[in-house]
């Protein structure tokens, strides 16, 4: 990649960030807000740096990342076969989909304390909450993707004597992959929210816990903002990882 190309791609991003930070600073200046109400960007940046240096933030990030990784894996691992089943079996769709939609329509915030009550305030309850929120978009995207696989290609596969397993692995899954990744993109960002909500329902460590600490007993608003920045960075990184994986697997199909 040429320097010119990097400049062309990066410039708008940097310009956008600069405008965002300038507007933030301007609001703080014009409003005359104190740091415990709305800290200026440089205050947040300094606090973020200190929180990383003195080891305040690291254990929380590690915990939250672990919850996200497990929750997302469990959800995707279940959503792919369930989505396939929904796509290929009318009966399964009729029986399962009302519960799926109902579960999705129930606010996860209301469910979280219950799940913490049943499964304790350890890792398990966070993974479950995270998985619950990630499951739906991935399952639906898989269902839509499998259904959208070209029937003519499936007939072609049959003509060349593809076994049922080969139909799934060589035709249906590759054909559904762009749609499945659409669901995974949504799921990856929701996984972050799921982990935070899980931590709010009770827990010792995690970025959600740190938010509560910063807002409550510590009364450290810059730390609260620094935590929010970290959470956002986790979300963006996960999203980019998904996109990179998608490019590798889906590639250029024209």
């Amino acid at each position: 990649m040429s320097i010119r190309r990097i400049a062309r791609d990066a410039l708008p991003v940097l310009a956008g960030a600069a405008i965002f930070l300038a507007a933030w600073k301007l609001i703080v200046l014009l409003g005359g807000y104190q740091a415990f109400v709305l800290p200026a960007p440089e205050v947040v940046a300094a606090r973020l740096l200190r929180a990383w240096m003195d080891g305040t933030i690291e254990p929380h990030v590690v915990t939250t990342l672990l919850e996200i990784a497990l929750g997302f894996s469990v959800a995707a691992g279940l959503a792919l076969p369930v989505g396939y089943l929904l796509a290929r079996s009318r009966l399964a769709e009729r029986v399962i989909s009302p519960y799926l939609v109902a579960a999705q329509a129930t606010p996860i915030l209301a469910l979280a304390p219950l799940i913490a009550l049943w499964f304790g305030t350890g890792l398990a309850s966070k993974v479950i909450i995270c998985a619950l929120i990630v499951f739906f978009p991935v399952a639906v995207a898989t269902m839509v993707g499998i259904r959208s696989v070209d029937g003519e290609l499936l007939e072609m596969g049959r003509a060349f004597r593809a076994s049922p397993a080969q139909v799934v692995t060589l035709l249906e899954i590759p054909g559904a992959l762009p749609s499945i990744f659409g669901g995974i993109r949504v799921g990856a960002t929701l996984a972050v929210i799921g982990a935070i909500i899980g931590e709010w329902a009770g827990g010792e460590t995690g970025l959600g816990v740190l938010i509560n600490l910063a807002r409550g007993s510590l009364f450290d608003t810059p730390l609260l903002f620094a935590t929010l920045v970290t959470i956002a960075a986790v979300g963006v990184t996960l999203y980019l990882l998904v996109i990179l994986t998608e490019r590798r697997l889906v590639g250029d199909r024209g």
Binding site: A159, F160, L171, P174
Partner: protein, 260 residues
């Protein structure tokens, strides 16, 4: 030898059933090139699907070298009306697809696919994805794919119908060359009289609803054939022989529509 014996097929069942084929019998000798010609809706594609084992006939049998075809058969290579290439695979990997399904190891199937791409004139296009190929190149890749398992018979369902007339002529010449080179038996479904005459040793005319074979016309033109041959007396006789049963049928619905 491929033998179609008393094959009948009806779409749907009971009173709403739509008969598509009635009592089709056709023998194709090894290395023969047979054309099946007919208007739309005479069951040409249905017949080809039955011969490929994709749909079971309701009556009658298909046999290849006296072994029955009772499902998708590796002795049959099918080319659809559309290329039906996998958009996420390169041309090479598309051609190698049937070999992959059959469990042929990667190195062997890639060498074979490369050979086949050369045969259809796509030696340099192996790395390209289907969307980077022209319509004609895609269809030739589909022919290469159908030849991958060295089938006893190649079935083609109007493979070039989406191409312009000039490209089509060029590909028909190439198809003839492929047929001579591979020594495979070919059954080509088409609705073009000139295409059928140019390529086939014998043309069966499918007409009526349900479709029946109403005429079989041998084409005694020497090979290799060229487009200029299409002016000779043999060709005009054959064309007349093919056109008569086709037009007989075509005339009816137009008249009945005009009257009704």
């Amino acid at each position: 030898m491929i033998s179609v014996a008393g094959v009948a097929y009806t779409y749907g069942s009971g009173r709403t059933g739509r008969p598509a084929l009635a009592d089709i019998s056709l023998n194709v000798a090894p290395r023969e090139f047979v054309g099946i010609i007919g208007a739309n809706g005479t069951g040409k594609s249905t017949l080809l699907r039955i011969m490929a084992g994709l749909i079971p006939p309701m009556r009658g049998t298909i046999t290849i070298d006296s072994r029955r075809v009772d499902g998708p058969d590796r002795r049959v290579g099918l080319v659809f009306q559309e290329p039906r290439l996998l958009p996420w695979r390169s041309a090479l990997d598309n051609v190698a697809f049937p070999l992959e399904l059959a469990g042929v190891p990667r190195g062997v199937r890639e060498a074979r696919a490369r050979e086949l791409l050369g045969l259809v004139g796509l030696a340099d296009a192996g790395a390209l994805r289907p969307h980077q190929l022209s319509g004609g190149m895609r269809q030739r890749a589909a022919i290469a794919r159908a030849l991958a398992l060295e089938p006893a018979v190649l079935l083609l369902d109007e493979p070039f119908s989406a191409l312009d007339a000039l490209t089509r002529e060029r590909f028909n010449r190439q198809l003839e060359a492929i047929w001579r080179e591979t020594g495979t038996t070919v059954v080509l479904v088409t609705h073009s009289i000139s295409e059928a005459i140019f390529l086939a040793d014998r043309v069966a005319v499918l007409a009526g609803r349900p479709g029946r074979i109403v005429a079989e016309v041998p084409i005694s033109l020497s090979r290799p054939r060229s487009v200029t041959d299409l002016d000779t007396a043999i060709v005009s006789e054959a064309a007349a022989a093919l056109r008569a049963p086709l037009e007989l049928e075509a005339a009816e619905p137009i008249l009945s529509e005009a009257v009704g």
